[in-house]
Symmetry: C2
Subunit: 142 residues, 2 copies
DNA sequence: GTTGACCTTAGAGTCAACTCTAAGCTTATA
DNA sequence: TATAAGCTTAGAGTTGACTCTAAGGTCAAC
């Protein structure tokens, strides 16, 4: 049985974050001491580690909430539900990557075009490019 | 001279956003009608388009604020100041891309490992991987 | 027996960049 | 002239994931 600071040390989450996750039903402390201190058993610890692993991969708390409800009752859920969540996350990640690569590209071009020296910025090609509307791609309603 | 909705149409920003940018000193309306309506002249419009271009590339409002102060007094600033801002942004973008690629990688591995079918999730390999601590990389204090 | 580290709670604050609301003028159109 | 579209303001709300605060109770060590 671990106290909250011990669970924090074990998972790499802060005690604050653990309480915050509890409020959102992601982590539970099966027991409490008489004084109200949280105590985490093995099952609680595994659940907390599951949450941390999912978080590291980039799943949102909402995603994790769904994954947890699958985890606690595996026979009522299919693999497809799990892959749907995972695929959806991958789609999001892929989209963000392309947005960022587009920015990366433009930034690299801008950097190459500019001397970057102590010269006055009077004819700075980066400023000029922005004035000319150095358009990459409108990120729209993303 | 354009009214706010016309500037909005021209730049692709919303009127709300234009007012919001004004509050943050990014965009100005050089004139106002007697009733208080904003009117944008050519210089205002170019400034607004500069802001939009910089925003599309991914610069923060804070970055843009700096770029604008260079733009309005180019002789007091050097190209190096501009490339510093740009390089810093590129570094940020590069870091986010690697984080996302790490997530992408893990998600792809997870998806490949799972049947994704209508089978019960009893032995779902994605859930199992998360239980085993499918660690990618701690995103730390980023 | 007292310091200091640790725990509790409810609730507020943070960040960035919007986005919206309410209440009330102004202007253009039919 | 009436209606609708458009403009004004200050200020509040949104999103997601924390992060911190205040005020106080608990526990281990010296």
């Amino acid at each position: 049985m671990l106290k909250i600071s011990e669970l924090a040390a074990k998972t790499g989450l802060s005690a604050h974050t653990i309480r915050f996750y509890e409020k959102h039903d992601l982590i539970r402390a099966s027991e409490r001491s008489e004084a109200g201190y949280r105590y985490y058993n093995d099952s609680d610890i595994r659940r907390a580690e599951f949450v941390k692993a999912a978080r590291n991969i980039g799943f949102s708390l909402e995603d994790i909430s769904q994954l947890l409800s699958i985890r606690v009752d595996k026979t009522s859920h299919s693999c497809q539900e799990v892959t749907d969540i995972t695929q959806h996350k991958l789609d999001e990640v892929n989209e963000k990557i392309s947005e960022l690569e587009s920015m990366q590209n433009t930034l690299q071009i801008l950097l190459k075009s500019c001397c970057g020296g102590p010269e006055k910025a009077t004819h700075c090609s980066i400023i000029e490019a922005l004035e000319a509307g150095a358009v990459v791609k409108d990120r729209g309603a993303a």
